[in-house]
C-alpha cells in the first residue's frame, strides 16, 4: 500500500480523485478500486502515463469525437448483474433484454468512435462490437431499438399470432353485428363493449331486458344492472379458440425468452469483456480530462530515489484560489536520497510545499499526469506524511504523542525507497527536547534509502549531510509598507533556496504578529527579550 489512510487524508488525495469523473458504471467501479503502481511496476506505470498523455493529446485534437463517445457512454446502465445471471443459467426478462439490446447499439457507437480516433488502441481498451448479439436480439435486422418479443423471433410465434389476429377480427365483426342487431331489436344504444347499463328505477326497461334472450347479465350494483349482448355459439367457439391461442402464445414467448437467454449465455463472457474494455477506456479518458483541467504533464520516472518538481502547483489549492481570482505561486523542489530540511518564515508556504510534494508524487504513482512544468521521480514503496492538525484528539493522544507514534511508523518503513514528509517535527513539546529529538531523527533518516523532508523552526538542525532549503519569505520588505494583514501573501516570496553552511532560521514571527494586530506593548517586550538572548 502506497499510503495509509491518514496520509491520504492529510494530502487530500480523495479531493483529487473527486474530480476524476468516469461516465459509465464500469469505469466508476474501476475508479473505486484504483490502486497505486507498486515500487516494482515501473514499466506498467510508464505505459499508463504514456497512454494518459496520448489520450490528453487526442482529446485536444479530436474533441468532438470524445464528446460523442462520452455522450454514448453516459447512457450505459449497469447490466453486468443481468449478464452474470444469464451466464449462470438464468432466463432474462423482457426489460433486461431491452437493456441488452440498447447496450449493443451503444457499444456499436462507442466502437465507431474509437475507430475514428488516431490511436493504435491496445486490446485492453478496444471496445468490440457485439454483432452476434445484435443478430440474436434483432433477427429481422430491422434496426429497431425498442424491445418486444416480436414475431421475428420464431415462425411458430408468428403463426400463432397471425391465427389469433384473424380470429379476433372475425369475432369483432360478429360482435358488431350482434350489437347492431340488439340495438335494432331493443331500441336503445349499446356500448361498443357490448354492455348496457340500466338503473333499477327503470323497471320497465329492466323487465324488458331480463326477458330478452339477446342479453345476459354482466353485473349488478346498488342501483343498476349491467347486461351484455349474449354471444352466440359461433362467437363462443371463436372466444374459446382465441383463449387457447393466447395460452399457446404465452408458452411460446416463454420458450423464446429461454432460447434468447441461452444464446446470450453461451457467449456471455464476450459481453463481460466488452464491459471491462469500456470501463478501462472510460477511466483513462477521465484521467486525461482531469489532466486537461490542471494542464498536467507526464512525469519522468527514474531508477533512483529522487523527486524533482519544477514549478509544481497544488491542484486543489490552485483551483480554490482561482475561484477567488488569485493564482497559486508555483514551487520548485529538488529532493534527493537522505534528509532535506525546509526552514523559513511563518506563512511562507512550507506546509503547502510539503503537501504538494507528497500529493504530486502520489498522483504520479497512480498514473495521473502532474500539475507542474517538469517532474522526475523514482518509484516509491511508500509515501508518508505527518502534519499538524487536531486529529490526535480522536485517539486520546496529545499532539506530541500522536506525532511521535506516527513518526515511529515512518521510521519502520524507512528501510525502503520512499517519501517521508514531516511538518514541524517535534513541534508539540518543549524546544529543548524537541530540538534534540529532531536532530536525532534527522540523523537517523539521513542514511536511509528513501527521501525525507522535514520542516522546522528550530535553529541548528541542518548539518553535515543534510540539505537545507529556505523559504525566501519576507526578506527585503519594508514592513511599514504593508497595511493589511491579508496582503502578506502578496509580499511573500515562496521560492525555496538552497542554503549552504550554518544558517539561522529567519526571524519574521514578530513582524508578522505585528501585522496581525498583536498589541505593540507586547511586541516591544518580545523584541527586548530577543535582544537580551542574542
Amino acid at each position: 500500500m502506497l499510503m495509509d489512510e491518514k496520509t491520504k487524508e492529510i494530502l487530500d488525495f480523495e479531493g483529487v480523485l473527486a474530480d476524476l469523473h468516469p461516465t459509465t458504471p464500469f469505469g466508476q467501479v474501476l475508479k473505486n478500486n484504483m490502486k497505486a503502481y507498486g515500487a516494482c511496476d515501473k514499466e506498467q506505470l510508464l505505459e499508463e502515463l504514456d497512454r494518459v498523455e496520448k489520450l490528453k493529446e487526442l482529446i485536444n485534437s479530436q474533441r468532438a469525437v470524445f464528446v460523442d463517445i462520452r455522450t454514448h457512454m453516459r447512457q450505459i446502465k449497469n447490466i453486468r448483474k443481468s449478464v452474470e445471471r444469464c451466464i449462470a443459467g438464468g432466463v432474462l426478462g423482457v426489460v433486461e433484454l431491452f437493456e441488452l439490446k440498447n447496450f449493443v447499439y451503444i457499444v456499436k457507437s462507442i466502437s465507431e468512435g474509437q475507430k475514428a480516433l488516431h490511436w493504435d488502441i491496445p486490446d485492453k481498451y478496444t471496445v468490440n462490437e457485439l454483432q452476434w448479439m445484435e443478430a440474436v436480439l434483432d433477427p429481422g435486422g430491422t434496426g429497431i431499438k425498442t424491445f418486444y418479443i416480436y414475431d421475428d423471433y420464431s415462425r411458430k410465434l408468428a403463426g400463432i399470432r397471425k391465427q389469433k389476429g384473424l380470429l379476433e377480427h372475425r369475432l369483432d365483426v360478429l360482435k358488431k353485428d350482434a350489437i347492431k342487431g340488439a340495438e335494432a331489436e331493443l331500441g336503445v344504444s349499446v356500448r361498443p363493449s357490448g354492455e348496457i347499463t340500466v338503473s333499477k328505477s327503470q323497471t320497465e326497461l329492466m323487465d324488458k331486458f331480463k326477458e330478452n334472450s339477446i342479453l345476459e347479465l354482466a353485473g349488478e350494483t346498488y342501483i343498476n344492472i349491467t347486461y351484455r349482448v349474449r354471444p352466440d355459439c359461433n362467437m363462443l367457439e371463436l372466444m374459446g379458440e382465441i383463449e387457447s391461442l393466447k395460452g399457446e402464445e404465452a408458452i411460446e414467448e416463454a420458450v423464446i425468452l429461454e432460447e434468447l437467454s441461452s444464446k446470450i449465455s453461451s457467449r456471455g463472457k464476450e459481453i463481460l469483456e466488452v464491459m471491462d474494455a469500456i470501463g478501462e477506456f472510460d477511466l483513462i479518458i477521465a484521467k486525461a480530462y482531469l489532466a486537461n483541467g490542471y494542464n498536467g504533464i507526464k512525469p519522468v520516472i527514474c531508477d533512483r530515489a529522487k523527486l524533482i518538481i519544477v514549478n509544481g502547483r497544488h491542484p486543489l489549492i490552485e483551483s480554490a484560489l482561482r475561484k477567488k481570482g488569485k493564482a497559486f505561486t508555483p514551487v520548485s523542489l529538488r529532493l534527493e536520497k537522505g534528509v532535506t530540511l525546509i526552514t523559513g518564515a511563518n506563512m511562507g508556504g512550507k506546509t503547502v510545499s510539503l503537501k504538494m510534494a507528497g500529493l504530486l508524487a502520489a498522483m504520479a504513482q497512480y498514473g495521473l499526469l502532474i500539475p507542474a512544468e517538469h517532474m522526475e521521480m523514482g518509484m516509491n514503496a511508500y509515501i508518508y506524511i505527518s502534519a499538524g492538525d487536531g486529529q490526535s484528539t480522536d485517539m486520546g493522544l496529545s499532539t506530541f504523542g500522536a506525532e511521535i507514534s506516527a513518526v515511529k511508523e515512518a521510521l519502520i518503513k524507512s528501510e525502503k525507497e520512499g517519501l517521508i514528509l514531516i511538518d514541524e517535527l517535534a513541534r508539540g513539546t518543549n524546544p529543548h527536547e524537541g530540538y534534540a529529538i529532531s536532530k536525532a531523527i534527522i540523523g537517523y533518516l539521513a542514511d536511509k534509502p528513501g527521501i525525507t523532508v522535514v520542516t522546522s523552526h528550530f535553529d541548528g538542525l541542518a548539518g553535515k549531510g543534510i540539505r537545507h532549503l529556505q523559504v525566501k519569505g519576507l526578506r527585503n520588505i519594508d514592513f511599514a509598507s504593508i497595511k493589511e494583514p491579508e496582503s502578506i501573501s502578496g509580499y511573500m516570496d515562496y521560492t525555496l533556496i538552497e542554503v549552504n553552511g550554518e544558517s539561522r532560521v529567519p526571524r519574521d514571527a514578530i513582524n508578522i504578529s505585528r501585522l496581525m494586530g498583536i498589541p505593540e506593548e507586547i511586541l516591544q517586550q518580545a523584541e527586548e527579550i530577543m535582544g537580551r538572548e542574542m
Partner: protein
C-alpha cells in the same frame, strides 16, 4: 345521440390533460377508462401516465375493487418494470428510465395488444412533464395524466393544458355536500388570470426568479427578501404602501400569509400566485378571507374541461344518479358535467 362526448371537449383542443379526483373513490379511474374508450373509438393515439400508485387492483386504503386501466393496442404508456411480465397487455419497451418506484424502474413503452396495464410514473411534476413530452415524441397524440389526490400539481398548467375533475359520492354524505365541496375546488381552480398583460409578465418573471415582489400602481416593482412566501406575510406587510397594487407570491398562498396581507394593506391589493394549484386555503377560511377583501389572481389559469360525477360511495351509500348530475350541472352551468358510471343519458335510457 347528439350528445357531446367527453372526448370531444378534450381533443384536439388539448394535447395533455390531467384527470384529478376530488377524493378517494370519486370515480377518477372510471373517468379515465371512459376517456380511453372514447379516444379509441375516435382513433386517437393515447399516452398514459400516472402520478401515483394507480392501476392497482385494490384501492390500498379502502380495500374496494378498483377498476384497472384497460389499454388498447398502440397506446403509449408509462409503467413499471415489474408490471411488464405476465398476462397483461404486451408492452414494447421504448425506454427504461432512471426513476425508481417500489415496483421497479419506470418504463416507457407501447401496448402491442389490448389488455389491462399498470400505469405508473414519477412523482415530480417536472419529470412528469418530461415524460409527457417523451411520449408525444414517440407518437402519442393525446396524453392523459392520471393525477393522484396528493399530487394536485399534475393539474398545474405547466404540466397539463386542461383538467377533468372527477367527483362523487365518496366526497360527502349528501348531494349538497358533494356539490358544495366540488364547487369550492372548482372556485379555487378558477381563480382568474391577472388581467393586465404587463403585470402578468412582471409577475411571471418574479416567480421564475423565485422572488416575492410588490408592484405599485405606477408599475414600479420591489423585490422582497423572503425565502419562501410560506409564512412570509409578516415581512410583506412591512413593505405595503398606499400605492401597492399587486403582491406576487413566489410560493403558495396560505391562510396566514393572505390574512397578514389583508390586515396590513393600505389600499386595494390583488395577490398573484403562479397558478391555482399554489392556493392552499381551506374552504372555511376562503369564505372569510373573501369577506376581508381577498382578491386572488394567477399568472396561468387552470382550464377545467369537464366534471364527472360518480353517484356511488364504497362506504355503502349512493345518490340517485340523475339528481346528482342535475344538481352539479345547476351548480356549475359553465362547465359540462358527465355521469361516466351510468354513461349519462346516452346509454341509460336511450
Amino acid at each position: 345521440m347528439t350528445d357531446t362526448q367527453l372526448i370531444d371537449l378534450i381533443y384536439p383542443q388539448n394535447k395533455t390533460i390531467a384527470i384529478v379526483g376530488t377524493f378517494k373513490n370519486a370515480g377518477k379511474t372510471v373517468t379515465l377508462n371512459e376517456i380511453i374508450t372514447q379516444a379509441h373509438e375516435k382513433g386517437i393515439r393515447l399516452g398514459l401516465i400516472s402520478t401515483g400508485r394507480d392501476g392497482e387492483r385494490k384501492d390500498v386504503l379502502t380495500n374496494t375493487e378498483k377498476p384497472p386501466i384497460y389499454v388498447r393496442r398502440g397506446t403509449f404508456l408509462t409503467t413499471v418494470e415489474s408490471a411488464i411480465k405476465g398476462e397483461n397487455a404486451g408492452i414494447e419497451i421504448f425506454k427504461v428510465t432512471d426513476y425508481n418506484t417500489p415496483l421497479g424502474r419506470v418504463v416507457l413503452g407501447r401496448a402491442v395488444r389490448d389488455g389491462y396495464a399498470e400505469i405508473s410514473g414519477p412523482h415530480s411534476s417536472i419529470t412528469i412533464k418530461e415524460m409527457c413530452l417523451e411520449m408525444q415524441r414517440m407518437g402519442a397524440e393525446l396524453v392523459l395524466i392520471d393525477g393522484s389526490l396528493d399530487r394536485r400539481a399534475s393539474a398545474a398548467p405547466y404540466v397539463s393544458e386542461g383538467t377533468v375533475l372527477a367527483t362523487g359520492a365518496s366526497l360527502a354524505r349528501s348531494i349538497n355536500g358533494v356539490v358544495e365541496k366540488t364547487m369550492y375546488l372548482i372556485n379555487t381552480y378558477s381563480v382568474p388570470v391577472v388581467e393586465e398583460e404587463n403585470i402578468r409578465d412582471m409577475a411571471y418573471n418574479a416567480i421564475d426568479m423565485g422572488k416575492t415582489a410588490l408592484i405599485a400602481s405606477d408599475g414600479s416593482i420591489t423585490f422582497l427578501e423572503t425565502l419562501t412566501s410560506l409564512q412570509s406575510g409578516d415581512i410583506i406587510s412591512g413593505y405595503l404602501k398606499e400605492d401597492t397594487a399587486f403582491i406576487v407570491l413566489s410560493g403558495s398562498a396560505t391562510t396566514s400569509t393572505v390574512k397578514d396581507i389583508l390586515l396590513n394593506k393600505k389600499g386595494a391589493v390583488k395577490i398573484i400566485v403562479k397558478d391555482p394549484t399554489r392556493i392552499f386555503i381551506p374552504a372555511a377560511d376562503y369564505h372569510i378571507l373573501g369577506k376581508m377583501g381577498m382578491e386572488l389572481r394567477t399568472v396561468e389559469g387552470i382550464n377545467i374541461i369537464a366534471v364527472t360525477v360518480n353517484p356511488y360511495s364504497p362506504e355503502g351509500y349512493y345518490f340517485e344518479p340523475l339528481k346528482l348530475l342535475d344538481a352539479m350541472r345547476k351548480a356549475v352551468p359553465h362547465i359540462p358535467v358527465f355521469d361516466v358510471i351510468q354513461g349519462g343519458k346516452k346509454y341509460a335510457d336511450g
